[in-house]
């Protein structure tokens, strides 16, 4: 796994801003915007080409929303679900296409690039590398999916409180009052696993691609192609599951029957 250039904003490592993630997230946003604009620019009654594809995705995401949030409240989430699905889908595929790696011999403090490490690897007789990756899936960095999951959780809780504060407070003590700690663990674990599921799938996929590329000839041929194809599949499934779970968590806070 190559190191990534980092922009330091504060005193400790926690303040580091991963520039690779910033760049690829911006590229993902631009790609999603271009796809949406291309689909909507010359719209006709009989859809064809790009418009047809995007209309299929919109109907697909509307189906996800409709099966979880019933009635009028669901209509508000059509745009959100579509945006979420398309963003995660594009982001997951982004890291599969190619990789941009730069080799550095001089340290660049502004980008967090350190000087080449002359100990260690050179002593073991291995080839010395001071490579920095400028391209990866934004979702392969844990901060992006976790941030999305926590944002969704905050919206879900906000919707629940606005619907009925009394019901929201009392559901922590259902069915027995001593279940309160379990509910707290549940509310913390939901966004954690929600974000980490997406991150771990994409991260494990990208690491395996890097391992295959560095491996022998037997790994870089057909197995790599098979794994790339499987990664496209996994990226689509994970985008779908992330959207479904976002809607499920919101419907749990909005539901009236329990």
């Amino acid at each position: 796994m190559e190191k990534t250039p980092k922009l330091s904003l504060g005193p400790s490592e926690l303040w580091n801003l991963d520039l690779t993630v910033v760049i690829t997230t911006t590229i993902t946003c631009i790609l999603v915007f271009i796809i949406a604009v291309l689909a909507a620019r010359s719209h006709s009654l009989v859809p064809k080409g790009m418009q047809n594809l995007v209309e299929m995705i919109i109907e697909f995401t509307q189906g996800i929303v409709r099966s979880n949030l019933h009635g009028k409240i669901g209509e508000r989430f059509y745009g959100f679900a579509f945006t979420l699905f398309l963003f995660i889908f594009i982001a997951n595929q982004l890291g599969l296409m190619f990789n941009v790696v730069t080799e550095h011999h001089e340290p660049v403090p502004a980008l967090g690039i350190e000087a080449a490490d002359h100990g260690g690897h050179a002593a073991e007789g291995k080839e010395e590398h001071n490579a920095y990756a400028w391209w990866k899936s934004p979702t392969a960095d844990i901060n992006v999916p976790i941030a999305m999951a926590f944002a969704i959780t905050i919206v879900a809780h906000f919707l629940g409180i606005r619907k009925s504060p009394k019901k929201y407070a009392s559901h922590y003590f259902q069915p027995f009052w001593w279940m309160f700690p379990l509910h707290i663990i549940d509310e913390i674990a939901k966004p954690m696993t929600h974000g980490m599921r997406l991150w771990a799938n994409i991260f494990a996929g990208e690491v395996l691609i890097i391992v295959m590329l560095k491996g022998s000839v037997f790994l870089t041929g057909a197995p790599l192609l098979v794994w790339l194809g499987y990664s496209v599949f996994v990226g689509t499934i994970q985008a779908y599951v992330f959207t479904v779970l976002a809607m499920v968590y919101m419907s749990q806070k909005l539901s009236t029957d329990h």
Binding site: T193, R197, A200, F203, A204, V241
Partner: protein, 72 residues
Amino acid sequence: MEVLAGAIMLAFAAIGAGIGNALVFGRYLEGVARQPEARGMLFTQTFIGIALVEALPIIAVAFGIMSVLGIL
């Protein structure tokens, strides 16, 4: 030591994910055998189930890889 810890994490994640996915996919095949017309609906439900089952194993795999590579 970190490599060994990562290897154990990967192994147990593989065992857990194998058993979990087998249970989910086996039930899907049973369902399709009983009711072949429900295949389309069951297929999407199965993949949601597999993605949910695989969540914890794949997180363990990610941390195992990080442990083996020494990032963690």
